[in-house]
């Protein structure tokens, strides 16, 4: 039964993929894409280690912002998790979460200017909403203590600390650590819109075609991510957090008048601001809706659906590379390195690189999204495949083993992982519009460039709505497939 359901779902998404594929723009507009790829790889030879000190401030700033942001987000998330059972709270958090940190940054840029406050808030808002949700789910999952034994006279704090928290604590901490890694990536990306983090230099070097610098920056970035557990452990973390809190600077440029103007004027629809009648408001909205929201949503969905299927197919090809059932130890090591690189490189950076090579169209965006997400899913699938114990007499032929023994057993969880990732892919599809693909992000970026913040807010609203819709469908599909993934395995996909 279940396998025919798996097939139904796969076929439906395959069919949507075909329709989306023929509506997508896959043109290659650069004159010499091959030459550009060659230049990029030749860049490895041009790495100059002497340039590292130039980036020192940006490295420190990226780490400081990520640390303070995750600290505040964890505290807020913990408080929010306590109220997650309220429907209103769940809706609010879903809304805040569904707007990408770059969009938040673009919005806060208008209020606070290019400074640390903008960077912090852009991370803290969506992260505390995500942490709030996941914390609530984790606490729920470990809530095994018999209700009858909880005397009603025990204070809520005492019962929480003694009965609920202890068993959930290790999982809460490991999830927070995973989110810290995400925060480092997000903070680095914020540099692309001008904040003084690693992404700022990365974008500069990209634009000028200094690929040696690009490589150097990427390698610094990988080293930071790969060494987290050595410097963000229980001994150093409190000290580093303390240091970050007191050394973060550059909060200049905040102006209360800006903030008041933002709330009371900038985001009010312009016809209302000018005291025009309701018909004008209607026309104002209709124009945005027809000219920007509909094509923006259409393109975002097209890019998402194409990327989702390509991601899935890629993951199916990638996971054998790190599974003992298909490769030997040495090949597995190479497979792991490959997947770790694509997993650790944010899709935004991949997309930026591919856009330089192929020009702005959906083609580089799909490749970037699929490589990043396909590696994440492929990695988890590979781990799952290795947990399978095949009969000793199962076929040694790899293709048969893949298609008859391994894949049928993990296909269900593969679909679950893919659907967990669906919402993330959609959020990224929207944001890649900033790079010139006509998804929702493109219209949002243009509206910001025109300083039409009323329009920005409307567009963001619909972006969030679209995300929540996809999240709801994803949950329905998972329920239909009856995939009971526990929070434990799904956490690292959110």
């Amino acid at each position: 039964m279940t396998s025919s359901k798996n097939l139904n779902v796969s076929l439906i998404f395959g069919f949507v993929f075909i329709i989306a594929f023929f509506n997508a723009d896959f043109s290659i507009s650069t004159l010499d894409p091959l030459g550009e790829i060659k230049n990029f790889f030749m860049g490895i030879a041009q790495i100059e280690l002497s340039k590292v000190p130039i980036y020192f401030d940006a490295i420190i700033n990226t780490i400081r912002i990520a640390m303070v942001a995750i600290l505040v987000s964890a505290i807020l998330g913990f408080i929010l998790a306590m109220y997650f059972h309220h429907r209103f709270m769940r809706v609010c958090l879903a809304f805040v979460r569904s707007i990408h940190e770059l969009f938040w940054a673009l919005l806060f840029l208008q209020i606070f200017g290019l400074n640390t406050m903008t960077a912090l808030l852009a991370i803290i808002l969506p992260y505390s909403a995500t942490l709030g949700k996941v914390y609530a789910e984790i606490l729920e999952e470990y809530d095994l203590f018999p209700k009858e034994l909880c005397a009603s006279r025990i204070s809520r704090i005492s019962s929480f600390l003694y009965i609920k928290l202890p068993d959930a604590l290790p999982h809460l901490l490991s999830y927070t650590l995973y989110r810290f890694e995400c925060a480092l990536k997000s903070t680095a990306i914020l540099g692309f819109i001008g904040l003084s983090t690693l992404g700022y230099y990365l974008q500069g070097s990209f634009m000028q075609g200094y690929y040696g610098e690009v490589w150097l920056l990427l390698i610094i970035f990988y080293i930071i991510i790969a060494t987290i557990k050595f410097w963000f452990n229980k001994y150093l973390a409190p000290f580093l957090l303390f240091l970050s809190l007191f050394t973060l600077d550059d909060f200049s440029g905040f102006n209360m008048n800006n903030f008041i103007r933002f709330i009371t004027e900038d985001i009010v629809p312009s016809p209302i601001r000018k005291n025009e009648n309701m018909i004008e408001v209607y026309i104002w909205f209709k124009n945005i809706f027809v000219d920007e929201i509909i094509p923006g949503i259409f393109n975002t969905i097209v890019l998402t659906q194409v990327s989702l299927v390509v991601t899935g197919v890629l993951a199916l090809f990638l996971f054998p590379l790190i599974s003992n059932h298909f490769v030997n130890k040495h090949s597995k090591w190479f497979g792991n390195i490959l997947l770790v690189i694509f997993r650790s490189t944010p899709e935004y950076i991949l997309a930026y690189l591919f856009l330089q090579i192929w020009g702005p169209s959906m083609f580089p965006a799909v490749i970037a999204l699929a490589l990043h997400n396909g590696s994440i899913i492929g990695f988890i699938m590979g781990q799952q495949a290795d947990e399978l114990k095949l009969r000793p007499d199962s076929t040694p032929r790899r293709i048969e083993r893949y298609s008859f023994e391994v894949l049928p057993r993990i296909y269900g969880s593969f679909l679950a992982f893919l659907f967990y990732r669906w919402e993330v892919i959609m959020r990224e599809s929207a944001i890649l519009g900033i790079l010139g693909i006509a998804t929702l992000g493109f219209y949002i970026d243009s509206a910001i460039a025109d300083i039409r913040l009323d329009k920005v807010v409307i567009l963001l609203f619909f972006t969030a709505l679209l995300n929540i819709l996809v999240d709801t469908i994803s949950r329905k599909v998972r329920a239909y497939l009856r995939i009971n993934n526990t929070v434990k395995s799904s956490c690292d996909l959110v």
């Binding site: 009858e148 034994l149 025990i154 204070s155 704090i157 005492s158 600390l161 003694y162 202890p166 068993d167």
Partner: protein, 221 residues
């Protein structure tokens, strides 16, 4: 006195307790006998709900917090007697006064050396004794326990059972071992398919009754 009058409990369409009438006098030590799924656990839970203020309850899954020590798990019984501040202080660093209270309980249960071990590191029998320790610390006159000694060996079983008997006035304890029930309790109640099939004082049990009880407790039938 605990009484049930034609009590019927069902989950979905399945009847778990079928018109059970029962009365247990103060001071009685009652063993509930029956195989798994007979309705013992539901009956015990119901008895607890009738008198939660004066009963200590040990559910079959014990209700222990795996990441906390034996000491803290037993202390949970007294959370409502102290201020939140005192509870937090005792969580961070166990207060000597509380250790002095809990240590003798553990000595009676033959696990004093485990006082600061985490539950996750213990064996099944050690966990059961921790849950019993929590019930003892609660200090209620009635004990309602659901197979609390199933993982203990014979020697320890005897010592723990006599310790329990001395700490509680009234006891209702689910068991599946007929011999233990007849040796340590005043009265046995046999349950099958949600109905009471036998209810007698141990002194009046005949050989035929014993055979009947073996049959009631045997999972093969």
């Amino acid at each position: 006195m605990i009484t049930l009058d034609k009590e019927t409990i069902s989950y979905k369409d399945k009847i778990v307790l079928d018109k059970i009438s029962l009365s247990i006098k103060q001071g009685e030590k009652v063993a509930l006998l029956g195989k798994s799924g007979s309705g013992k656990s539901t009956l015990l839970k119901r008895l607890y709900e009738l008198n939660p203020q004066i009963s200590s309850y040990i559910p079959q899954e014990l209700g222990l917090v795996n990441s906390l020590s034996v000491f803290h798990n037993i202390y949970i019984a007294k959370l409502d007697e102290y201020s939140t501040f005192y509870n937090i202080r005792n969580l961070i660093k166990p207060v000597q006064k509380e250790i002095d209270i809990i240590h003798p309980i553990l000595e009676e249960l033959y696990i004093p050396e485990l006082i600061f071990k985490k539950i996750g590191e213990l064996s099944g029998g050690q966990k059961q004794r921790t849950a019993i320790g929590r019930a003892i610390l609660q200090g209620n006159p009635i004990l309602l326990a659901d197979e609390p000694i199933s993982a203990l060996d014979e020697v320890v079983t005897k010592k723990v059972l006599s310790s329990i008997t001395s700490k509680f006035v009234t006891i209702v304890c689910a068991l599946h071992n007929v011999d233990v029930a007849l040796e340590y309790y005043d009265r046995v109640i046999g349950i099958k398919d949600g109905q009471i099939v036998l209810d007698k004082l141990c002194a009046q049990i005949t050989t035929a009754d014993t055979q009947h009880l073996y049959h009631v407790c045997d999972d093969k039938f």
